[in-house]
């Protein structure tokens, strides 16, 4: 069925677009719904196979997409393993002990520390580490201090999004953009440093005010006497990995190798000491997740190739002036909030890349900061969870939404402004 002759492609375009769009919606719906608890890849991989077999995406394009996504997925796997090994080695526990020790009795002080720790962990070890590994530690720390946990837990969930704009490793969306845009690691970080600080600053000011009474309620428990035991070797390896990103980038080598090296060193040491098993290391890489990302990328590429690029292309502003950056970030935030930021960034990247690095980074600000508007990351997920009425029946959605409305527009606007300023200084 598949041919490369242009007349056939033209005849097939409408049908191919319809097929790929339906498959994309199916893949996303199954990722949100998770029928029978199956891994998302179970639907996504056959869907990707179908768009290739039916010729909705040419083999060349599918191959190009796979080659582009391959290093991204390797990078992602290395960072996921790195974060899990840091946890196994007690890094997050040490963060908790440090916070408990120096914040004793002062919830406002604890909030500052949570902001610092969550921002750094998110930036260096990715948002997954903050959501999965740090949030429980922060809750336990607040509880141990006798402080109300809500402001600190909410800070973690918000910062896992907001603070994930700094480095290519901080968020899968960044890794995808990093691979697509050809930006150097250091340039990415230099341009995103100011927006990162601006967005975190906005979050902090809003949180201090919004949760003022919870923070003023105090903390009764006696200060913890647990001495933080910093896993020095692990911290040094993580620091070396960060340095490796910069060096690799300067030498023109993919920084994924630095992440892989860091993960291998920690894994070998943990295996040698019997602290982990090969199976556990493999599990922490999240193979089904990696397959899902690859398959989703191919399906999205089919949708973009067959016509979405043309229709969305008219919506996407070109140029990297301040108004264009605002428009791009806003569009990205809206798209991320409708379904999820992962498909949003896959759709927007091919359109933003020709406009230059400023446009790509504006899209990232939108898709990374935007999801804080809805507490489940997107309206689709939120609606499904409401229908399911699982876990969340007692949740005060109004409060979640209020804090989202107070933080997201302000953080996004200031971050875009900071990006624009950075582009003027560093140069687009």
């Amino acid at each position: 069925m598949h041919t490369e002759r242009p007349e056939d492609r033209i005849l097939n375009t409408a049908l191919a677009e319809a097929l790929s769009a339906v498959l994309l919606l199916l893949v996303l719906a199954c990722a949100v719904v998770r029928p029978w608890g199956l891994p998302e890849a179970v639907v996504a991989v056959p869907a990707a196979g179908l768009v290739i077999v039916t010729g909705a995406i040419s083999l060349d394009h599918a191959q190009a997409e796979a080659e582009r996504l391959g290093p991204v997925i390797g990078f992602l796997a290395a960072v996921l393993v790195l974060a899990q090994l840091c946890d196994d080695d007690g890094l997050f526990r040490a963060c908790g002990a440090w916070m408990a020790r120096s914040a004793a009795g002062r919830p406002r002080r604890l909030l500052v520390q949570v902001f610092v720790v969550a921002s750094v962990i998110t930036a260096v070890l990715s948002l997954d580490a903050t959501v999965v590994l740090l949030t429980p530690v922060v809750f336990a720390t607040a509880a141990r201090l006798g402080a109300r946990p809500k402001p600190h837990v909410y800070a973690c969930t918000h910062l896992s999004n907001t603070a994930s704009v700094l480095l290519p490793v901080s968020n899968l969306t960044n890794l995808l953009a990093f691979a697509a845009s050809g930006l150097a690691f250091t340039r990415f970080a230099a341009l995103m440093a100011l927006p990162w600080l601006a967005a975190i600053g906005v979050e902090y000011l809003v949180f201090r005010r919004f949760f003022g009474t919870d923070l003023d309620a105090g903390a009764q428990a006696p200060p913890g006497d647990e001495v933080p035991q910093v896993p020095v070797f692990t911290v040094v390896i993580v620091a070396c990995t960060l340095g490796g990103f910069v060096l690799a980038s300067a030498a023109g080598v993919n920084p994924a190798w630095a992440a892989a090296a860091g993960a291998v060193v920690l894994a070998v040491r943990a295996l040698a000491r019997g602290r982990t098993t090969p199976g556990a290391v493999l599990r922490s890489a999240g193979v089904p997740f990696l397959l899902f990302v690859l398959a989703l990328g191919i399906v999205v590429r089919a949708v973009v190739d067959n016509g979405l690029a043309d229709s969305l292309g008219q919506l996407v502003p070109d140029g990297t002036g301040l108004p264009s950056l605002f428009a791009l970030a806003g569009l990205a935030a809206v798209l991320a909030n409708v379904i999820n930021n992962l498909p949003a960034v896959l759709v927007l990247l091919p359109l933003a890349v020709p406009a230059g690095s400023g446009a790509v980074l504006a899209v990232l600000l939108g898709v990374n900061i935007g999801p804080n508007l809805t507490y489940a990351g997107s309206l689709a997920t939120l609606l499904w969870r409401r229908i399911l009425r699982e876990h969340d029946t007692d949740v005060d959605l109004g409060e979640f939404t209020r804090i989202g409305l107070l933080t997201v527009p302000a953080a996004l606007a200031l971050a875009v402004l900071a990006l624009w300023a950075g582009l003027q200084v560093v140069g687009a």
Partner: protein
């Protein structure tokens, strides 16, 4: 006679002291703590927002639920120790203000502490949850200041811990 003291993080010692001071000798004192559903829900929500990670065993919300149960238990034990009298520990979870109102149904006295701005005496010294409970509780309510108690007419009394 049943006296319920609402034990909340940060303000509970004042409630325990008030329950000890005001409950008749033959009263059953109940120490009530409600673990809010909001923190675990924030964990569930954040994990749901990570598309494609479908490993439910890694959902931090579940871990937060376990931690919340442990910390509620520890808080109630600390309160019991401070009370120094026989009492019943009652743990509930869900929507905090609704759970407190429901638990207080049929009680003879509910002791709660102001949960708002404690530096400025006035209506804002009651937070949203405290306001709701005072307005909706069907039993008599004893409303106390958390420690330290502001002096009459004083404004700007700050907690020393800030």
């Amino acid at each position: 006679m049943t006296v319920i003291a609402w034990i909340a993080e940060g303000t509970w010692p004042a409630c325990v002291d008030a329950a000890r001071a005001h409950a008749p000798a033959d009263a059953d004192i109940v120490l009530l703590h409600v673990a809010g559903a909001d923190s675990p829900a924030a964990g569930h929500g954040a994990y749901a927002g990570l598309l494609g990670r479908g490993r439910l065993d890694r959902d931090p919300g579940t871990r937060l639920e376990e931690l919340a149960a442990t910390s509620a238990d520890q808080l109630l034990r600390a309160a019991e120790e401070r009370l120094g009298l026989p009492c019943i520990r009652l743990e509930r979870h869900g929507h905090i203000k609704h759970e407190v109102v429901a638990a207080a149904e049929g009680a003879d006295l509910l002791v709660l502490a102001r949960d708002g701005d404690r530096a400025h005496p006035g209506p804002k010294s009651l937070g949203p949850a405290g306001r709701f409970v005072v307005d909706h509780a069907t039993c008599p309510v004893l409303l106390v200041w958390p420690h330290p108690v502001p002096q009459p007419g004083a404004v700007g009394i700050k907690d020393a811990s800030k």
